[in-house]
């Protein structure tokens, strides 16, 4: 075979700029037919952006894409599908009320003039499922299947389209070990059929098992493409994180006092269990792990946004039962959510109205909001946090992300919480605002507050936190002190290379 025919996909010099952010920088990525090619990297390394360029969701700012040796230009996902590129997403994208067969052939059912050849469709779906070795009845309603079976249907759907390239994004995140083995059999079969398989996973052990080649991305750049043979998980981790840890996070020194928030063996019956940690006055506890490890779920449950079904939460040594955010605020817990636009700000309201929202009752006499108190509260924080522009009457959604975030943090300080939980507080804000937010957090702990900070960004975790708890698959590790930590160690704990 010639080199050209061998090459299923050749992406060269791919860059993707978003205003102010370079998500991909000059990435070269080539995949051969009949191979499984793994893509690994930390959260935010550029994996998803690269795949979105590949499936036509994003147009690259620069660079060329060749599929099967011919240069292509894709403007929408349908273009990619026409070229034989199929994505299997981490989340199930199927219609629960349709049958398995209908889902497999959704959008391209056999038949003409709106007459559906149902028998043919079921026969073909059965053949595809059979070929993949999946014991699923094509007449079954999809919603009746288990998640892992649905995942297989999703793969069958992609396979039935006879693609040249299949992209699997974290396909095993909902599968048991046994089911993973079954999936790998299917992948090997597709590979032997000559399909190019791109396999995105955080689970390095699986990468070692299934992939022929691996490409490591970091900070939007391609670091290395290597044959999997001869590489170790440790090496991959080093390639994934290997950056200089510069001291851009000045750690303010705060006196560490008594334990403020202590959670013991809490669980929500679904996304996490047996999670224990404590955080003391003047201390910043980092909570990290891969996306989906259950970090935000823990925070939301402690704050009363979801239920804790087992274990105990204590504040200042007293057990508390938190059933609602109002109860959490009364107990002295505050929470800055991860999704600022979705959970953090009320977009139509001014900065002032957003800041006073949690403690409105205290600014009220005889039902009426005392506007002078309302104004002076927001003026105080706008000044203290140098929120820009310094105008409390401005609608909050007109501010930059960093300033919105400062306002969201400010709204909790008025409530004078004993413990503040920050979920990805610096995500999507620029470098300057990030430093300011770190400075604010430093001031808070210096004032004796206890802070829990969730972050996916390891340099931030290592730079800011006194102790760190790493979560994986809904379980938490022991807390580790700064001295015991390195990015490699955290990644090893997060990916399961080191037992927690």
């Amino acid at each position: 075979m010639t080199a050209v025919a061998d090459c299923a996909l050749d992406m060269r010099g791919i860059s993707k700029m978003f205003p102010g952010v370079k998500a991909l920088s000059n990435v070269n990525f080539a995949v051969k037919f009949g191979t499984v090619h793994a893509v690994v990297g930390e959260n935010g390394a550029g994996k998803s952006t690269l795949m979105k360029v590949l499936n036509g969701s994003y147009a690259p700012t620069s660079g060329t894409i060749e599929v099967g040796g011919a240069e292509v230009r894709m403007r929408k996902p349908a273009d990619a599908q026409a070229l034989g590129i199929r994505m299997v997403h981490q989340e199930i994208n199927l219609v629960p009320d349709l049958t398995v067969a209908e889902n497999v052939y959704l959008g391209r059912m056999p038949g003409r003039w709106s007459y559906l050849r149902k028998g043919e469709m079921i026969r073909k779906a059965a053949a595809v499922l059979d070929e993949l070795g999946a014991a699923i009845n094509p007449r079954e309603r999809l919603g009746n299947l288990s998640i892992s079976q649905q995942q297989l249907v999703e793969i069958a759907k992609a396979y039935a389209a006879q693609p040249r390239i299949i992209v699997l994004d974290e396909p095993t995140s909902s599968l048991s070990e046994h089911e993973t083995a079954a999936l790998f059999r299917i992948l090997r079969k597709m590979r032997d059929d000559g399909i190019a398989i791109i396999y995105i996973s955080h689970r390095l052990k699986e990468v070692l098992e299934i992939a022929d080649e691996v490409t490591v991305l970091r900070d939007g750049s391609m670091i290395e493409t290597r044959p999997v043979e001869g590489i170790t998980a440790g090496e991959m981790i080093r390639l994934m994180v290997g950056r200089e840890v510069s001291n851009v996070f000045p750690k303010s020194v705060a006196e560490i006092g008594a334990s403020v928030l202590r959670v013991e063996r809490i669980g929500d019956g679904a996304s996490f269990r047996d999670v224990s940690f404590d955080v003391r006055a003047g201390e910043i506890l980092g909570l990290t792990g891969l996306v989906g490890a259950g970090r935000s779920e823990v925070a939301r449950a402690i704050f009363g946004l979801s239920r804790i079904v087992e274990g105990t939460v204590s504040i200042n040594g007293r057990k508390v039962v938190i059933t609602s955010p109002s109860a959490a605020v009364r107990a002295g817990i505050a929470y800055v959510p991860e999704d600022r636009k979705g959970d953090g700000i009320v977009p139509g309201m001014s900065v002032r109205e957003n800041i006073s929202l949690p403690i409105l009752r205290r600014l009220t006499s005889f039902g009426r909001i005392r506007s002078s108190a309302d104004r002076s509260l927001s003026a105080t924080y706008v000044k203290q946090f140098s929120i820009s522009p310094p105008d409390g009457e401005r609608r909050i959604n007109l501010l930059s992300g960093g300033n919105q975030q400062k306002a969201v943090i400010a709204k909790w300080l008025a409530a004078k919480p004993a413990v503040l939980i920050l979920d990805e507080p610096t995500r999507g804000v620029d470098v300057g605002a990030k430093a300011e937010i770190h400075h604010i957090i430093g001031q808070l702990v210096a004032g004796g507050m206890a802070v829990v900070m969730i972050s996916s960004e390891l340099p931030e975790i290592l730079g800011v936190c006194d102790r760190v708890v790493v979560m994986r698959d809904g379980r938490a590790s022991q807390s580790l002190t700064r001295a015991e930590l390195s990015e490699e160690r955290i990644m090893a704990l997060a990916t399961g290379e080191e037992a927690a």
Partner: protein, 332 residues
Amino acid sequence: MTDAAMEISGTNRNDRFTRGSRLVDMLSKAGLLLAILAVVLYGSFSSPAFFTTGNLLNVLTSMSIVGIVVVGMTFVLVVGGLADLSVPATIACGAILSLGLQPMIGPVPAFVLAVALAGLIGLLNGVLVGYAGIKPIIATLGVGTIGLGIVQAAVGGVIVYGSNTASAEFAKGRLFGIPVVVLIFLVIALIGHFVLSRSFWGRWTLATGGNYNAAEASAVPVKAVKAGAFVITALASGISGGLLGLTLQSARPLIGSGYEFSAITAVVVGGVSIIGGFGSVPRAVAGLIFVQLLTNVMVLEGVRTPIQGFVLGILIVGAVGMDAALRKRGVA
């Protein structure tokens, strides 16, 4: 990087409240006042009957009965509760009970009890929508049907007549030359305006409608706030129904039909967002005045009923369409 992308697309998008839209916003406010003025001018020139004390007082009185409902409905729309379709039932509850109970317990207790029971219907709506998470249209439609059935069964007959002349005269009377019903509407509108724009409950209502999740994460009791809007609407409709019954001195079960549509039309034409988070009582009242005057002019001009419906339909679709267009460029 996905997050970075989301962040960018979020900040780049024009919001409902960016400067460009603010112009639209101001225009929509002034626009409504201009439209009201235009209707008044047109009416004065085209029909000698329009600009007479008698006609205007008539419009004002009938407007006030709907207007009391409009004040409540504003809360439902602002909180993101879409619409309360149980209004005909709560009006009937107010009207039938405030007349039907008169012989047993006297006019004032009858009125109070009627309003309280209407409020109970609202509470049921509120619990279903706010706490059980049932879609408002379905919940209020179902509860309204049930409520109406119970009220009818309780009074037995089909039409209830008033038996207390003093209360009838009070409701039909005037104070300083202004009909009592109008004064009551003004007081309720002022209270509604104060609650929505100055009180913590109003701020909570706006926050819940503006971003339910963020309000919840800010320790706002979102479920109670959502339920509260339906209680407020039901109480307002109960009062409205009671006054309607006292004015007419008779009440049949379908006395309130059509009021939900009139109230929603007024609120939406007033520029209150149908998706919630934005709006005020004065805006809704301006919408009400416009719609009522327009209807009155059409009646005086002899415009046939189907055409009137056609015009009102266009108004409501136009207003909702404008809201959707603003949203599309905005938060959505």
